[in-house]
């Protein structure tokens, strides 16, 4: 399946992550997953919320630069080798991964999220 993610640009300054999360909580938005990719000078925070449209609006109003994108999400069993099999399929079809992270929903299996150069194609392959 495809999952919509919001990426937020954060400069490397004290309190920026706090103000970002604060803007979301004040808008009553629940963050389900949060992942930070950072460089020396800036970070990109990737979040999935219970209301991405509302989150984008709240972030824009608070002055944050945000962009949404679709990720491919697959459920994997909690046993050795299950992710390996999935990655094998993508690799065989020549699909590049930009980044990968995991996300676990309450009471269930782990979800693995993939950013690929062609989300629709990857999603079809893994269905």
């Amino acid at each position: 399946m495809l999952v919509n993610q919001i990426a937020v640009f954060l400069e490397n300054r004290k309190g920026r992550l706090f103000s970002m999360l604060n803007a979301l909580s004040e808008a009553g938005i629940n963050v389900e997953s949060l992942n930070i990719a950072d460089t020396r000078d800036f970070g990109i925070v990737r979040i999935i919320t219970d209301d991405n449209a509302g989150a984008k609006k709240a972030l824009a109003e608070a002055g944050f630069t945000a962009a949404d994108t679709d990720l491919v999400a697959i459920e994997v069993d909690d046993v050795p080798g299950s992710l390996t099999a999935t990655l094998g399929k993508l690799s065989k079809e020549g699909i590049n991964l930009e980044y990968v992270y995991s996300y676990s929903r309450a009471g269930g299996k782990a979800l693995i999220l993939f950013k690929t150069d062609d989300a629709a194609e990857a999603e079809k392959l893994l269905r």
Binding site: A7, F9, L10, E11, F42, I44, G63, T65, E98
Partner: protein, 435 residues
């Protein structure tokens, strides 16, 4: 060796005035005949070369500014045909266009003479080994000291800038007694020597000739301690000639101006009227002997003061105070002139950022000038992939380097996070001033 040219360096005020007067009359005539842009300035106020009878008439003459050099880029300010020019130098202009100067063989020789005088003021003679770590090239620092040192007959090491470890090896192995470079590079060399665990007793350094960027008394003392030398201030600008326009003799007040070549004035930058001795104002130079590209009453934008009192070193050449600032917003980063307008024109050509919003932060870290430019990332190009955002950042750094000739660190910030610019004070934060 006390003086390089005792006659000119110690002549009486009357003799100096007579020499300056004769040379001014000559240069005005040459400019009127050979430099159309300056003739137009004189014609505009109905001034003829014959109206200038001596140095006392200098304030009748129109000023020349960097804008004149820019308008006549590249060779329009030459007072002689290109065939008479044997070398060009260039420095940064305000809009990315270089400021170009042209020298005849005699100009090069005069400049070498001034640089040789400067080296003698710092205590050098032909027994010295002069290690030149100024950059060689369009920048006047390297070649200026190089020719001066050769003229003096000192053994000259044209090391140019960069590769500090190798420089230290050369300074040590060749037994250099004098070091010529920017003050910040002298600090870098001093620190590297400490890091390498070398003892100063392995070196023969006695004196340093430092210039091309502003430095404080504290920094001077620190360089002297680190390198075990006496540090001397040298002043120059490519428009007038390179290093050697003025030089410190080690006395307690300022730098002797080679005023038989370069006539100095200090004017109030607002009224352009002369100010009394020892009063701060804008430094203005007239090149009295230059052939290729003489400049009359060139506004340097440097803030200084003049002092005509006698100096204990015996020289009668008047002295200028160490430059304390600028009347424009030019920054000097590791010896390279940088104008915020150059930075702005680079940013305006990059579509991924909000070009009009930027902030320049200049600092000195580990004794080297650093420049950070904060720019706002345009929301439309923001990507969730680090790689793409980094690529934008790196491309701006690359373009900056290519245009400024000195590296700047680019930091991307969120849109509307920079203070709206209402003037240069907001755009530029120079933390060096407080050090």
């Amino acid at each position: 060796m006390r003086y390089y040219d005792e006659k000119h360096e110690t002549m009486s005020r009357d003799e100096m005035t007579a020499l300056q007067s004769a040379r001014l009359v000559d240069v005005v005539k040459r400019m009127y005949e050979g430099a159309p842009y300056y003739r137009a300035k004189m014609d505009a106020i109905g001034l003829l070369p014959g109206d200038i009878k001596g140095i006392e008439d200098i304030d009748k003459l129109p000023f020349t500014t960097k804008a004149d050099l820019r308008a006549n880029y590249p060779f329009g300010c030459f007072a002689l045909p290109k065939s008479e020019i044997s070398r060009v130098h260039a420095s940064s202009g305000t809009t990315g266009k270089l400021t170009v100067v042209g020298l005849t063989n005699r100009d090069i020789d005069d400049w070498a003479e001034c640089a040789a005088r400067a080296l003698v003021m710092a205590g050098c003679d032909k027994n010295d080994i002069v290690h030149v770590s100024y950059g060689y090239g369009l920048f006047t620092g390297g070649l200026g000291l190089h020719y001066g040192s050769e003229k003096l007959g000192s053994m000259t090491v044209p090391a140019s800038a960069g590769n500090t470890m190798r420089q230290i090896t050369l300074i040590k192995d060749f037994g250099a007694t004098a070091l010529a470079c920017t003050p910040s590079y002298a600090m870098v060399i001093g620190e590297e020597i400490e890091k390498m665990g070398l003892s100063l007793s392995e070196f023969k350094l006695k004196r340093g000739i430092f210039g091309a960027e502003p430095w404080s008394e504290d920094m001077k003392r620190e360089i002297e301690r680190k390198l075990g030398i006496t540090a001397y201030d040298i002043y120059g600008l490519s428009e007038i000639s390179g290093p050697g326009v003025a030089m410190s003799c080690g006395g307690d007040w300022g730098l002797h101006v080679m005023e038989d070549y370069f006539y100095p004035e200090i004017v109030d930058p607002d009224t352009l009227k002369p100010v009394p001795d020892k009063t701060d104002g804008e430094l203005v130079f007239t090149t009295l002997r230059k052939q290729g590209m003489p400049l009359i009453r060139y506004r340097t934008r440097d803030i200084s003061a003049l002092n005509h009192d006698a100096c204990s070193c015996g020289r009668t050449l008047c002295r200028m105070k160490r430059v304390s600032g600028r009347t424009d917003d030019m920054l000097i980063i590791r010896g390279v002139n940088v104008f915020p307008s150059q930075i702005e024109s680079v940013l305006m050509n990059i579509k991924e950022i909000v070009g009009s919003h930027y902030q320049i932060i200049v600092d000195r870290q580990n004794n080297l000038d650093t420049m950070e430019i904060q720019v706002e990332l345009a929301p439309a190009v923001f990507s969730d992939e680090i790689r793409k955002v980094e690529e934008i950042r790196r491309r701006i750094e690359h373009d900056m380097m290519g245009n400024l000739g000195v590296g700047a660190k680019i930091t991307l910030v969120s849109p509307d996070s920079l203070p709206l610019s209402t003037g240069k004070t907001v755009r530029i934060i120079d933390k060096r001033a407080k050090q």
